[in-house]
Subunit: 463 residues, 4 copies
């Protein structure tokens, strides 16, 4: 693979991180399974670093965990602490050098880092560090964080992390490993998730609780915004040096997270089903059948069917053999009614008034294609129910949502959207309805993509 | 890969076949997409052969279509006819030499064959052919079929196929290609599916109609039992030299086929939803929530929820990043509550009376594990609803169902099964209920695994 | 890899074969080392088949033995008999289906074949066999041989081989293996080499004696022209049913064979050194230094230096890191003085009268490039000494020598050749001098490429 | 591959470096061919970095250049400057992170480095840099050099290089690249070679002149010890800030360098042939035949034959298909007379008094095996002629010569060595004879391995 280095590569990320401190356990294998559970958060690269107390071993590469690792590799990775990472990134610019964990040596020894997040002041920090003599070897934020830590060679790692956090302006959930410690860090807003788990008396950190379930560990609690959790042989301790002003990303509930994960004690699938019920309360429509768009629209569709009493039916089948290496269809095939990834079930739709439930509309092109598919399969009416409000503002915190000019709801009225997607009706869940579905304090969430209220300023906002 | 040759390798198969005759189209690429749609019928190997009227090009290998093919390979495969195949087989014995299509030359030219089926008199035919001087190069049934065809060097291929069919005692759906013809063949019982499609005036054959949808082709009709369909530049013609006594495998509806396929005009998902409704009519149970076992139990679960009025809920999440290369957990992990492929959604199950719908019980071990999982997640009751009757007899026609000693329903009463799987109740759909769900003549189906009435005799039955 | 099948693919071959019968030895590993020693006879594919008395295991692929095999593969190939093959073929048409050994089953059991040779009546035999109902799966001669053997299902294998040999019109050295026997066969002219070896009481066959040395085996003798050697647990027996008229290819001594091999008791390097001495006797030239063209011109150059008294000097260095995957230079680079594979040693050549010894001239383009290289390095005179006579006739027996129109000696006089290659003189060894260098009966050799006297007729000769 | 990081990995290296500044040329392809010519200096990894004036592209991996690169990769590497590197290292400890060139960013922009050498004060420098806040990402010397350069963020790169050289205690030939410059650096002793070339008005640097020949470039001159050569669009300029005390490694002439390279105007093959002549002058022995040990003993053997008048003969054949992936023979095979890599030519040796010429004896085990091989092939006497003096002292400057306890000449007298290797006589070239063969000032060479006079102190010397 040819490696490229340039300044365009600053990647928006929504990754998965994992860390485990468990002497006597096969920590590399457990981390592998945890990455497999977190794979939905990133499919571009997968990596694991283990420490046996003396040295680190790292294996990472482009691809899914199941492509990057095999039994032989895992068997060679012996140790008592492990860190894992899966990367989400734009396929076209991301290369092996973006793969994590990243490993560094500094005055206090070796450090491995895995990060889910984005620094908004990366450029400024980098220039400042270079002027002091710093050498960089790639363009990922982890290196900036490590240079900030290393610039306090006489402080403890915990103190150096606090100093670093004071300099960072960004969104981040971090897993950090030394030869004998595991540290979890969440930014003061707590935009991205991070939780603490327990397994036979050992402690773990993970982006989502589903990673804990997958290996038989128990959820202790979410890591608090701005909290530093230090795990070592004596258990875990919590450092909370920063005032907290929680702003958890509501889109994790809408789309990003796995349905079997829980945040702040609320299961994602249950929240989605409640969104569907609320949608039915807000929008009553005369329909024969309710169908869900796989996979993120399903739970809301079940909720809509339950609340409305209209029967749920398998209406669209998703091909389960999708692979990263799938050969893309030619343009001429794409224009015809070729149903490679999703296929409508004609007999279920023919002559029916169909209520199709999806989680969100971003650009509108996918919705348009789905409505056409259902109509071509013979539906007499197609009503598009969206289990979130109109997406009207870009996200600067790592989610790859298009800029405003490409957001259909920022450009068109609901009537125009309805016409564009070709539906008989388009219905959105209210923001209040969405936030209430969580059954938690609505003030705890970042809903900037819906309401434009950004918790953290960013140069690009001025655009 | 080391190739092995021995007589143990006679494989039970339930594969997918596809053929297209379409001058002017990119037939290799269309076949690739069709294999992708048929991939659920076989994940061990994938292959395509194309003819450009002068020579054949074949590419095949172990693995999924998306692993075996890439753009460059497909681009090299120019022609106007193509054949495709995906193989289901026991991973431990199957090797590259079992991959299809297989290509042969004989007195009349080149022939490629792709087969879904099994010959019950393969050994006898092979010995007889060898005594006449035949040379074999591997152990798959295709070679026996081809030797039978070649033993009529002066007959037309169609006549030679008829002669071959008279000698075959078995189950088979075949796609056959010469330099300028495509031929589809279904055995006189029609146990395995095969259908005829049409696309812009060109004809195709496929194991299931979902393969036609995936490339924008239309279903013409199922190929009849015992029928030979010959496709060439003048369209298609039908040869039906054998008396028909249809015995279509009912298990295709229960489990094998993709939900968006149709047989004999009946969509699989609709039939499964009807099975679920019928199950609710046959077995009323006091429950709080209905959940389906992914993926084959889902449609029946929707039907059960619809008919019973008990709400459907996402109760078990299936990890979608399953890969052939997934590292198996160690035994100690398997014994703990480790949920790698399926994970229960605790909040949906805790304290609930759960009705879990699945398509069938074979050995009972999977059901036992599922019931434990749901109970461990906090369910107060677990009722296991099965959308088919007890499986009491082995299948000799290609489906890898265990022999009677391993079939739990052949060994235990329903009470004993309930105890073994640890459920509060186990409920089966009646055979009548199952057959009626198809809304077709019940006499048209092979239900030997449920009722022991085999349409074709087999040496092993004597066991 | 895309496999192609057509009639153009009839390959000219000059391969290496090996067989060993040695219960208790690691026969696959010994065969691997033997192939490594025979690799100069073919670099396109490498393969091994072993028998453990019950079944065969074959591993073969495109590439060198060191590329195709690894420890793990070899360790899986347990048995007491093994066959090995390396293939020489035109890179552009050869595919995995040409790789040998090839394995067949017929009435008497399994047979593996490895062949160095070419059938001149392949097309006729194939048509005849197909008319009797034979099925072919590829286009290599081995399949024709096997069909001929199988057409005598009631004869012993030895008798069937004799019958086959009566039908073959061609050049061939064969190694054949059954579950419990190893058989070596050489065509009645004995054009290609084959020898019998012994190792701790076990017997082996090999294309060249260097393969025996490489594994510590001893040369027993050459296999006679037309002889069949049958090796089993009782030792070896010889069958010689055909009259012998030896016509061993003299080009094996000139260029093809490895210098450390011996044929008919004469070491190749010693014969080449004698050719060089004889060349010096025939052509005395005033020179300052003798240099050899690596690698096949070296021994003759040593002989020339010895006989003439002119000092030998390393004049051209050959890069030893040549690989099949080497990236070819662009045309513009090829036109400049770019010395990628051979580099002249300027200080050794500058201002010198250079006598450069090479084994042969075929098209003349290589010689022209070499002469230019030496002159550009500063030589005042370049005299080109060739240790064989002018090549004036094509070879129909497997050596890929161009047809007459491309043979420079068939088109030009020695003066014209001297001018074309740009030398101060070009000097050939006489045919008598060449044949006498072997110190054996000159009538035992095929020298058709030099004198046009073909031992076996061929349709193409009429051209 | 699993990456390992620890302090044991400090590698002794004897690598090849190359750099070219040539706008309008295909610099990546030219570098690939140059690496191919330098491959004898390192087979563990190969790498190229190109600059197009804006960004760097690097491709590197374990393996030979022909294994690491292909046409597609080279075609993607567009630019006007390129750097190349081949790595020699202990196979067991070296990993992808040791592959070069290495790329860094610092205050002045991007820098790529390729190094042949070893720092003797690496540990001290690293600790000092870490105490100032430096972050390291691996364990190779390049990173230390770059940190030293970056610690002068306000100086020009040339000045920073001078500052760095004042801190380095070691042996090094460097090629350094920025977006628009190519810089060659040789340590003040000039232990490892580095030369300056020219090609159509563009300048190049290379470890050996053979790399220049291979791509049609001309040798300008050697880079002087302690010299910094800066190449950019205006040509090249020389900076010589350090006093020079040349100590070129004499072992480059004896063994390391390619025979077609020249140092200080003296061709290696010519020097080796002169060593052979001098050996014949120093040691007259009654022999029938002279043979050379391939490949490094050949030129000296030609010289010995020339001076002594005893005929040279091909006596040992080296298998040319050696690959990194060659399967090692089992111990039992190694003990038998198995000749996998070198095979004696019996007919040339039988009954002869053989003079075998080799370049050096280190541990003596190879010589012992060779003498046995020649004797087993029937030689009546074996005289071992060594074209260098006894190796009695370890090398601390990158050549992997064993420590004194394993150097046979440090432990035994010549009589004992003769007995150990089993020869009829062992004869060494005198140090004076060796140095005089170069026809240059004997004071210009480091001959520490022969005479123990080290030019640079090293902690390990105290051992």
């Amino acid at each position: 693979m040819v490696y490229r280095k340039n300044e365009e590569e600053q990647l928006h990320e929504a990754c998965g991180v994992f860390g485990i401190y468990a002497p006597g356990k096969d920590v590399a294998r457990l981390t592998y399974y945890a990455l497999y559970a977190l794979q939905h958060r990133g499919q571009e690269s997968s990596g694991i670093t283990v420490s046996d107390g003396k040295e680190f071993k790292t294996h990472k590469n482009m691809g899914l965990a199941s492509e990057v690792f095999n039994d032989e590799i895992i068997d060679q990775m012996k140790g008592h602490i492990a860190l894992g990472h899966v990367l989400y990134a734009d396929k076209d610019v991301c290369t092996i050098e973006h793969a994590q964990p990243t490993v560094f040596q500094y005055a206090k020894g070796s450090v491995a880092l895995a990060c889910n997040g984005i620094l908004l002041n990366a450029d400024e920090l980098r220039v400042e560090l270079e002027q002091k003599g710093a050498v960089f070897q790639n363009s990922i934020d982890n290196e900036i964080m490590m240079q900030l830590i290393a610039s306090h060679p006489n402080d403890s790692l915990e103190d150096a992390i606090c100093s670093m956090m004071q300099r960072l302006h960004g969104i981040y959930s971090l897993a950090i490993m030394t030869e004998d410690k595991l540290i979890g860090v969440r930014d003061p807003l707590g935009v991205r998730p991070l939780c603490l788990g327990e397994m036979d008396g050992h402690y773990l950190i993970a982006s989502e609780s589903c990673a804990l379930d997958s290996i038989g560990a128990k959820l202790v609690r979410d890591v608090h915004p701005g909290e530093i959790i230090v795990i070592d042989q004596s258990g875990y301790k919590s450092i909370r040096p920063f005032p907290e002003k929680p702003a958890f990303c509501i889109f994790e509930y809408v789309y990003l997270a796995r349905p079997d994960s829980s945040f702040d004690g609320r299961n994602v699938a249950m929240v989605r089903q409640e969104m569907g019920r609320q949608l039915a309360r807000e929008h009553k429509v005369d329909g024969d059948v309710v169908i869900g768009v796989p996979d993120s629209g399903l739970s809301a569709a079940f909720g809509y069917a339950e609340e409305s009493g209209i029967p749920y039916q398998l209406g669209i089948l998703k091909n389960r053999y999708i692979a990263r290496t799938f050969i893309q269809p030619t343009q001429s095939m794409r224009d015809e009614s070729v149903y490679l990834k999703l296929n409508p079930i004609r007999e279920a739709l023919e002559g029916k008034k169909v209520i199709m439930v999806d989680d969100s509309i971003v650009r509108g092109t996918t919705s348009r294609r789905l409505v056409k598919m259902i109509r071509d399969a013979g539906a007499s009416e197609v009503h598009l129910m969206i289990s979130s409000p109109p997406v009207m503002h870009p996200c600067f915190y790592g989610i790859n949502i298009a800029d405003s000019s490409h957001l259909i709801a920022a450009q068109k009225s609901i009537e125009e959207i309805t016409e564009y997607v070709g539906a008989d009706g388009v219905y959105y869940l209210s923001l209040e309805g969405l936030l209430n579905s969580t059954k938690r304090d609505p003030g705890n969430y970042c809903a900037a993509c819906f309401n434009g209220q950004y918790a953290l300023s960013c140069k690009k906002m001025g655009q």
